[in-house]
Symmetry: D2
Subunit: 413 residues, 4 copies
Amino acid sequence: MDDIFSTNQTRDLIPRIREFVETELIPLENAEHLTGNFSTVARILDQKRELVKKAGLWGLQHSVEEGGLGLTLCEFGQVSEVLAYSPFGHYTFNCQAPDIGNMELMHKYAPDDLKRQYLEPLREGHIRSCFSMTEPEFAGSNPTRLGTTAVREGDEYVINGHKWFTSSADGAAFAVVMAVTNPDAAPHRRASMILVPTDAPGFELVRNISIMGDASDHWGSHAEVKYNEVRVPASNLIGGEGMGFTLAQERLGPGRIHHCMRWIGISERCFDLMCRRAATREIEPGVMLGEKQFIQGFIAESRAEIDAARLMVLRTANQIDQFGAAAVRNEISAIKFFVANIMLKVVDRAIQTYGAMGITDDILLAWYYRHERGARIYDGADEVHKSALARSILKGYGLDVKKKAADMAATRA
Amino acid sequence: MDDIFSTNQTRDLIPRIREFVETELIPLENAEHLTGNFSTVARILDQKRELVKKAGLWGLQHSVEEGGLGLTLCEFGQVSEVLAYSPFGHYTFNCQAPDIGNMELMHKYAPDDLKRQYLEPLREGHIRSCFSMTEPEFAGSNPTRLGTTAVREGDEYVINGHKWFTSSADGAAFAVVMAVTNPDAAPHRRASMILVPTDAPGFELVRNISIMGDASDHWGSHAEVKYNEVRVPASNLIGGEGMGFTLAQERLGPGRIHHCMRWIGISERCFDLMCRRAATREIEPGVMLGEKQFIQGFIAESRAEIDAARLMVLRTANQIDQFGAAAVRNEISAIKFFVANIMLKVVDRAIQTYGAMGITDDILLAWYYRHERGARIYDGADEVHKSALARSILKGYGLDVKKKAADMAATRA
Amino acid sequence: MDDIFSTNQTRDLIPRIREFVETELIPLENAEHLTGNFSTVARILDQKRELVKKAGLWGLQHSVEEGGLGLTLCEFGQVSEVLAYSPFGHYTFNCQAPDIGNMELMHKYAPDDLKRQYLEPLREGHIRSCFSMTEPEFAGSNPTRLGTTAVREGDEYVINGHKWFTSSADGAAFAVVMAVTNPDAAPHRRASMILVPTDAPGFELVRNISIMGDASDHWGSHAEVKYNEVRVPASNLIGGEGMGFTLAQERLGPGRIHHCMRWIGISERCFDLMCRRAATREIEPGVMLGEKQFIQGFIAESRAEIDAARLMVLRTANQIDQFGAAAVRNEISAIKFFVANIMLKVVDRAIQTYGAMGITDDILLAWYYRHERGARIYDGADEVHKSALARSILKGYGLDVKKKAADMAATRA
Amino acid sequence: MDDIFSTNQTRDLIPRIREFVETELIPLENAEHLTGNFSTVARILDQKRELVKKAGLWGLQHSVEEGGLGLTLCEFGQVSEVLAYSPFGHYTFNCQAPDIGNMELMHKYAPDDLKRQYLEPLREGHIRSCFSMTEPEFAGSNPTRLGTTAVREGDEYVINGHKWFTSSADGAAFAVVMAVTNPDAAPHRRASMILVPTDAPGFELVRNISIMGDASDHWGSHAEVKYNEVRVPASNLIGGEGMGFTLAQERLGPGRIHHCMRWIGISERCFDLMCRRAATREIEPGVMLGEKQFIQGFIAESRAEIDAARLMVLRTANQIDQFGAAAVRNEISAIKFFVANIMLKVVDRAIQTYGAMGITDDILLAWYYRHERGARIYDGADEVHKSALARSILKGYGLDVKKKAADMAATRA
């Protein structure tokens, strides 16, 4: 039964992508590929990328003018869900974060030279990139607090700073770095985005941070990076001085939709695994696990929650398509915490359904359990989004909490 | 921002109804009307019904051929939400359960005589009706177990039985009674629906059952009823012998949508009350309740959950409009427990936000807290729907739990 | 199996009290007594009080010097649990709030005249009392904000103020009133407790506030009260000027233990009702409700949670006995929200287990559902206790949140 | 403030052990030791074991007759909590599962020869052991279903079977194997425990199963093992033929206490980490994370829950000490699911408090998150214990679910 957000594009694309994922990617799931270094499986995925190209599915997220399919965000969201049935889907289709965000950003705001040198090979999948924003010394709940600086000297910026969670930095060709260029401007006007080639002198990949047991490498890395007097041409600026936060916001709105749709794909995949187990695992002679109400409860609640989550996300994507991300900031906050929590509940129930096997790397579930716990943290922790959403609502009732807090901070200072 | 399920009809109707509810009904909320007997407020509401008629909003749920607006279920759902901002909305607009269900049922299946005698005055709001199905001796989780019988004697049925939760029986003109007419048929073919005037000899209203503190009366009653050798003409049969469950199912599908949309209206109303309180209640000099994160958490989670619930219900209504209720049985089960639980959480959070005032009848919340606890029970308890949904899903995975249980029951017997 | 907090006293008393409750009080539970006015059942309970006296169980909470049994708080807690198996237990044994708190307070701090005139008949059950602290205009989360004043004029206090939730005021002989006597002292030193006879001119019982459907009367009332130029002798002061908060704290520590043990008794009673239903309700031929895992989950989780709650409370009572309430303020905060939430969950599960019957007043559950929702609000809302507990813990880690907030308030002012 | 279960032994031991853990073990926590192979850190821990011996703390779990301290289970529980502040505590003190269980089992039931050859070096920490019970082909919820057989041939048993989750098998000197010796006996009398040296021909360590990202090795391994015609002397039988389940039960009762106390230690450790972070992490200039109510909620709820969990476990340990494990089977089921869930909630809240750092291996939390998810599965999944507890309670109400299920199974067969 077609759902309300289906379009001709999605009706055509989704079965093809689903088949690709099932045929080419799901068979790659095994303990070797689900633990340790990403580079192990990347070698195979790079071959699969050739199949994607042959199938005419490469670059499907791009606008028509970029040679893509011109999918709306709402359509791409539906595609993204299907890609997420495998942890290798987005990478194989070259629409993985952070590259997809960097491509979109550069397409809109990078000068032509940077486009030629970096965006084109990125689109082809010949290079990878990273996004260098988060800093260990400052809480992510207030992104305007940044220690990294980019000082203009002649035709260059000299960059100094300390970042972490610069995801996929290991092996990337360049980083888009968020740095303070205008320290005396208003807080939201202080930072800029600057492209830094990773082979620039002073770019130091301190380490791939071990996350939930894996330091990983390659696209799977989450690097700690230092910028030690790194010099880049002033023309590496993306989108104008002081526009860092504006661009970050523009990036994050659709980015959160991408995450959310990925989480729904993950939820559906784990739901499917859970049902398969429930239907086939014998717990007493002739009695299947799925006959037990505890398991039925897992299945029923998950079904309702995933459906709700998908509707919320596609509704929001649809509104972004119509009105822009700024108009639906509340809805974006809502889906960020709502969907992340549902996904983690579904993953958890699926593990419980599998019993001892559920915690092994013989089955995909542990991978999601480990690597998606961060979903409630990155791109705004649950608590940050809940508070933001509530304050925005309360403003409509005449209480401007943010303003009061700012006044308080001013008083304190 | 218009949402995806808006239509010209809803865009026209909803603001008018909302204004009516706010102007005419919300001012009636006070401890006197929110406790004790419904007849107290009914006197006032009957006057408001005249205003509804004047405003051309009477009978808005009816099909065009019945002189109504021909709203789809999805459109009526949106209207129903707005009516539910007041506990008096549906009654005032004469689209309250169980009358709305009885009207639809009789419109489709009653012989012309019954229509003339009962349906027409019911539509006009001159009489009320009730639906007599639930029995104290049998668990509602299996509706095919019924003790009430209707035995054909000549041109009459002779009805004997014991019912409760025959809601609104007090003062009703007639009951639609579910009774076994064909005890030897297959379980789902045993019962029929028969119209019984409440002044028929042998119809005994034992009591208005006290529910959560109120026995109430009039439309607000939930009666225990005995049928003692009640004789009615055979022509009082609605829809054919043995069709009782088929008709009940047909009634329950849209009925659950009606409930769910009502619950969303309740949730929105309580959400609004909660936000008003948060924005205006001073807890320390200069500090408002809404500045506290615990309260912000209540608001944010409620906002996300209510939005999700509405999308789920309207999506399901939309599918019923397109494909019929039988095609979306799973979705109906899902919304039944999903939405009821969200509503009760929102009501609870709103009470907590009001503190001591929240448990008083000075504010609407306690009314919903008391009278909607049943939402997780009536029309199928949470547990029944979760189990049904899961079993239906597992059937798609090759495990037919229901069949196994039936085989087991047969073996046991 | 005796548990760790049993003593010879509890081993002797508890079976006797349990039998009394089961024989004399539980049979009184019916819709008539569980709805409407308390005075209806009070007439019967006053006769039962005579049986309590005959059984030598009257006044069991008193110290030996007052002619009581000298139970420790930990022992009385265990007794209180058993009394709470019936909603009429505490009243019948004359150890109901607010009288029990007033008796203890007056025993320790009232001048002899007041003791003779008020305490003695109170102990005998000849009169009742109330405690008048909460005000509608000020959030209960900060008890130092009070609008009621008592101005010394000659040998009298002249009291003006507006209170609500002056529980049991209807028919009480006197109120202990919290009023500001020293407006210029430090916030915690401003208020005093003064005994006000309810027949004093200017004492106005505005109304019995309708709570969750019942305004009730008599001991069951929660009154709104106005003090209009009420004059009482200065000797009606209890415990010294400015000692109001100190006495309130002293009263609240054991008072919260009393509440918590009562809640455990309620939980046990509902648990018992739930299990009886599960074991005997047939849902299919030959299949009992208790065979269903959803219900088993309700039972198992409730069992674990109630046991945990009891241990927490008795441990805390035991520590109060040893070290005083001030030393275990954190533990008291913890049990206040922990136990209230467990009770409400158990009540809710029991209702769900009973299905439609669970929401009727044919069974005790709806009474607790309605009248104990306030448990998460009165004597400090969940949110207040959670915040207080966390701040106290964080102080041990070097973060003095309270001090920071105070500094901020000072800055703001 | 001493708590009710403290004894002179615990008052003496706990500060000494706590200091050891803090000084010697906590500094070992780093990404290198918290990921990958256990053998890396084992080398260091083996040196720490010498310090334990020097400090006279070696073997503290043993009875006096074994040269230990003769701690009660309730006392050892308190010690075990403190050991669990570090993931390396139990190993370093040689009271880690499965060795501690094997030592106790062999002390009671092994013939003298086996004691001399295996138990003595095990006590000294010169060898390690494993316990081989779980089988991939059969659900752990019914432990009487076993595929592994031990057939008596002359003076030998010939063992064939397939096991997994034979924890710590890698490098162990012997396994205690559960195998069917008496296939025609009643289900609970079919299996026996037999000691199998790991160098016996036919003992095949198939692999160390990768769990949540780590296959690990050494004590940290969870092995898949095949027994291919393994021959051992008949005198390797522990405790008599057919006694396998009886011994397993005897082992599991205290074993679950051990687990639960370990989980409380983990909870306390994570609680401490959470509070440290909350007190010191600046989120805005001058504003600490712990000032936020969301975080305060995490702290307060965790504090209450951990305290409740500890009381539940020590109460149960105390009862086992007094009445034996068989008498408190219900209490053991209750703590198994109650405590495991609390621990996992606390770990999760601590991670959320740390934000991005919380998912890194720079801090201990991710280790517990990954390696303790199994707590809700091993030694009886939540669902198994909930169902068992509820059925046992319902038996007291006259409903024997287990018997009905058995009758049903018989009917089916």
